[in-house]
Symmetry: C2
Subunit: 760 residues, 2 copies
Amino acid sequence: MKKNKIVGQSVRRLDALEKAMGTATFTTDVTLPGMLYAKVLRSPYAHARIVSIDTTEAEKLSGVKAVATHKNTSREMFNTAACMVLTVKELEPVWDQNIFNQELRFMGDEVAAVAAVSEDIAKEALKLIKVEYEELPAVFDAFEAMKPEAPVLHPNCHEGKNIPGESVKIPYGDVEKGFAESDIVIEKTFKVPIQKQVQMETHAAVAQVGVDGKVTVWSTTQTPHPTRMILSKVFGIPGSKIRVLNPPYIGGGFGVRIGCSAKAEPIALALALLARKPVKFVYSRKEDFSASDTRHGGFITVKLGAKKEGTFHALDLRAVLNAGAYCSFSVEAPGVLGAMGLAVYRIPNMYFHGHSVYTNITPAGAMRGYGNPQAMFPIDSVVDMMAAELGMDPMELRLKNIMKAGDPWFLPYPCGSSGLAECIEKGAKSVGWERRGKVNQTGAKKLRGFGMGVGTHVSNAAPFCVDYDNAYIAMQQDGSIFLTSGVPDMGTGTSTSLPQIAAEVLGVKFEEVSISFADTLSSPFEIGSHASRTCYAAGTAVVAAAKDLRKQILEFAADVVLKVSPEKLDIADSVVYVVGEENKSITLKELGYLAHLHLKQFIAVSSIVPPNSPPWEAHFAEVEVDTETGKVTVIKVAAAHDVGTVINPMIVEGQIEGGVLMGIGYATTEEIRFDAKGKQLHNSLHNYMLATAEDAPEIDAILVETKDPNGPLGAKGVGETGLVPTAAAISNAVYDATGIRFFEIPLTEERVYKAIKERG
Amino acid sequence: MKKNKIVGQSVRRLDALEKAMGTATFTTDVTLPGMLYAKVLRSPYAHARIVSIDTTEAEKLSGVKAVATHKNTSREMFNTAACMVLTVKELEPVWDQNIFNQELRFMGDEVAAVAAVSEDIAKEALKLIKVEYEELPAVFDAFEAMKPEAPVLHPNCHEGKNIPGESVKIPYGDVEKGFAESDIVIEKTFKVPIQKQVQMETHAAVAQVGVDGKVTVWSTTQTPHPTRMILSKVFGIPGSKIRVLNPPYIGGGFGVRIGCSAKAEPIALALALLARKPVKFVYSRKEDFSASDTRHGGFITVKLGAKKEGTFHALDLRAVLNAGAYCSFSVEAPGVLGAMGLAVYRIPNMYFHGHSVYTNITPAGAMRGYGNPQAMFPIDSVVDMMAAELGMDPMELRLKNIMKAGDPWFLPYPCGSSGLAECIEKGAKSVGWERRGKVNQTGAKKLRGFGMGVGTHVSNAAPFCVDYDNAYIAMQQDGSIFLTSGVPDMGTGTSTSLPQIAAEVLGVKFEEVSISFADTLSSPFEIGSHASRTCYAAGTAVVAAAKDLRKQILEFAADVVLKVSPEKLDIADSVVYVVGEENKSITLKELGYLAHLHLKQFIAVSSIVPPNSPPWEAHFAEVEVDTETGKVTVIKVAAAHDVGTVINPMIVEGQIEGGVLMGIGYATTEEIRFDAKGKQLHNSLHNYMLATAEDAPEIDAILVETKDPNGPLGAKGVGETGLVPTAAAISNAVYDATGIRFFEIPLTEERVYKAIKERG
């Protein structure tokens, strides 16, 4: 009997039809009888204290059912992002937020919220809230904020002025000795911008409180179970009495709603508890920009030492990131920046030191790549500079120095596989690397250039943070398979790839597997969709559960029906059969009913701690720089990715293509800046220069499959790697085209034009 | 540390507030965007064939979105009740129904259904459906239907004309020899009426079909998982892609919606598939009466032989029940009638033979007691007659002959406990049995009398039918407990008693336990709420899961925190402590978070086959008969029940009180009769004489706790026993008052008055 092959097939996404036909339900679609609508009053100052607040007039407005402020809501401190508790004991979460703070630390900080029978009435009520503010001195720059004269944003910063938690230090070998032994040393400081996730659906939550005190929250969270933990902490309600679910779709996330969806869930729930009615709170796009986490901007210093034959010998990496007003992931992000930055090349002596600094701007938190893009633009810029110093082809230099499977490294899990060399070879071939330096006519106004960048990443958060997973699987009485995982599908296709994995392991037909997930009601604890872990960690749990189920099925079939030892049995296309005697068989449909008559359902719950595996990636960019305008046009990106086993090629390619485009935006256009008062200058889809389909070049997503020893059926994480090396590749290509090295991104027309002018 | 005692406490029902405040959601409250409303066209004949059906005009009516008939819906045969598949192979389910049949077998049988944007339009459309019927000869009486000249209602009745499936035969000892050896033999035939469940909420279902083909059905079913099985069979959709749930409340059931809620689910789903919109179908009360299962009426013959010293020596029991038009539970119900009828007294020689017969009336199916009340009214009438023959007190005669724990019996599980003697003693004391024969003044017009009846029952359906259970339990990261069971709470309080059981086994605070159930999404297979099994079987699964969880918790606490062997630990009030060194402890709240940091959630899934245990009951009735009107007024019922361990006294007492009132209705007023054309004469709350609060006498629910070796913490089933002996007790009391023995119930004024008149 031919075994059905499901993994590796681009089966149609199970969410495709619903999304294409407009019947897919998102949080904004959730409507409950008697539901109220919430609006939030936000701080007009970057730093201020509420002297007094009077909500009397607002409460009197007809249709207003509740007004929430710091005076009538929980004072329990929390952290909207704190679902990934660091397993490093010293780095426990920084609890520095209330739902409503009396001290307001950025323009947009929550002052009060109104629940009313319509959005218009809620908006009207906001105007009736009387607030007396005492404006306080504000600081916006990370280095300024560390100075003794800077205002204190949060107490208990024991490591340094306004530094949340502990800084991250990674020593490896002897870095001082390493530089002393190096023939060439290059040290440069880079500046990286504040980028925004701009996920399709803004933050939203609907909260309902039963008269029995049980709570249900539909929301855009990437992490329903951790959101439940946070709500349980903030509101003092047993976790078992809170249900958090996606409804079931989420319009993207890119890290911005790990933990809560900004404060959508706690604000909706606070109002629902006050009003005793269901409350819906949907962020406007402007609120989403100004009052939810961004990608950390900051300064990164790279010092690289090499032997003259081209062997890297020492690397010192320093990062100072701008945390903004609250901690969010500002302790963890520098850690990933350092760990990933140091993991790409085989260097015997390394050191990393990084931390964040509180300032009075919108908080920074998790965003796809989570520190890694901030590391690789500087590192791979310096690697290119080193190649120039050494007179080597940058590709050759990288091939000489990259990590290989089995190489010793400092990370607490083995480098079990690496297809990076193959990625480099295939990417170079795709972009036509041999054309480098040969394409520009003398005196041309539009100059072509080629650049590359490489990188790795994690496939989940372990062992740095709490990361474990459970999956539940049960065979129904007709042999069909029901699977639950608590992990959301925020558009990444896991509601298709997890059933593919289950079908493959079990040998059942793909269409017989159904998944229901992202609901704390139906699933055991699951830490959520982040850290490229969704398919990897939830998939590992699915493999474990499916293997257990398969064993139960085969043992029953062997014992009750086929009268052979279970080892002689296999399952294909939902039929259990004796290997080599394929006429001896029973369909799972028959078997499921037989088990029912034998008073048995096959059920398995897996509990796993996912190992970690490094995905690898090499991006090759061809760009064209218009020397008369400074415009950088990306012509092509060849994005070769070692993703381990490919579960669903269409989905993996989609992840890479999306990542590359986000990387192009990071490299060329996207940035949030602030005015002198701390007001965002880029807070809408009009003035934030998001890379869109129009900006998309030819993207060649090349899949390199190293069957990873750890991942589910050999798969690795792929959600974040798509943009890790893109900025370096583009900046290196701009250098190749123009000879100008940029130490700051994005490479806007203004910046590039100015540099060309300055050079003359 | 004092162990918290939760079991045995009348903790407030968790559903109480929602129900009292009107916020509890029932199926009729489910409203979905774009939802349509269904109405059904029903057969105007007791027996007819559809010659032609034309729905063209109905489909043209504005607002009509689908019309379903036998021509455009599934032809897969099913049985709305077939969730309890008999484990006896010969008695597999009788599949004798389609959603819409072309041959109509009772007045009310489904001809067609319309889905429209309003109920009014749907009703209007029914009038536009043109049907040509060919009327067929009909038969209404069970004995008539077995005659050669009777019409054939269903093919494949191999045992005899119109007998569905196999008749049930229970041989035990040598009954012929037993009668030969008896000194006194009494043989009488009794007639029992068709009773209706008249549960508060009529049948209802809302079906939704996603564009991805996944189905969700909210309904009043008592058995979500088996309903899913039935829908999967009928519609050919994998079970894994169908979700069935209560929303979450059900307004009663009493057996009438084991399997599907009549045809609410298949009709709603058939229309939803045709219309591609959600469809709600709510039965009117008249439809609920005429087109959903009743309690079987029929004829029962009891032949009892006794030795002259009062020892029962032989019992022959025969039953011919009226199945109505479709089989439903008509194969199983005679089995329970026989098995329970033969289980009460210790008699060495017994025989039972019983079966049902198809007729052209509303089908009979499951109703609280399920054959047992039909057995015990006749048997305990004859026992009273035997006492009179022997010149013994009926109570003494019973005490001499009842089964005792450990006695040999014919049932396939041991009689592990019996508190029946204690029930008799306590019931007699409560009613004042010593007043019997001493209360009536000579010549009084209103005569008082005392009577008693006894009985047993099952605590679940095993091993006769498929009966197994699973429960899922998980500790949350704050130490609170989340429990799921697929079993509905149809008003019986299991959403309170199951958490009580979990809290007791675990040693956690009751308020830290939350249950979510009756949803195939969140729970493994569960066969549903019936056969008095809800608290018993689901509770057994909860005990098993909670014990497993407790073990995991103690092992972790012992290993990671308290550094002792797990055997030295106990849990009380949500604190794990070292027994004898109670300062060495950790709260479950701390432990839950610690486990999280150790990458672990405590999760347990239990899979159990519930054993069975006999509950026992003795009812003592005091009645007053008005000899001038024939009116029987029940003054008091002392209902003493051996329920094993009492989980929640308030809930158990409520079950008994409700059962007694239903038994009073069975005994005195409730009956559905049909006219000569097969039309129900009692099909509304106006003309069906339901026993209501106004008819309730003083009811003394007496709880006798024999700690049963099998049940969860020693508990037994209690859902059905409340009405098993009531009719016998009342009829015996009427005999005691009047000297008239009745062989037919209900004891309506008309019947009693006529008997008094006839006697003169």
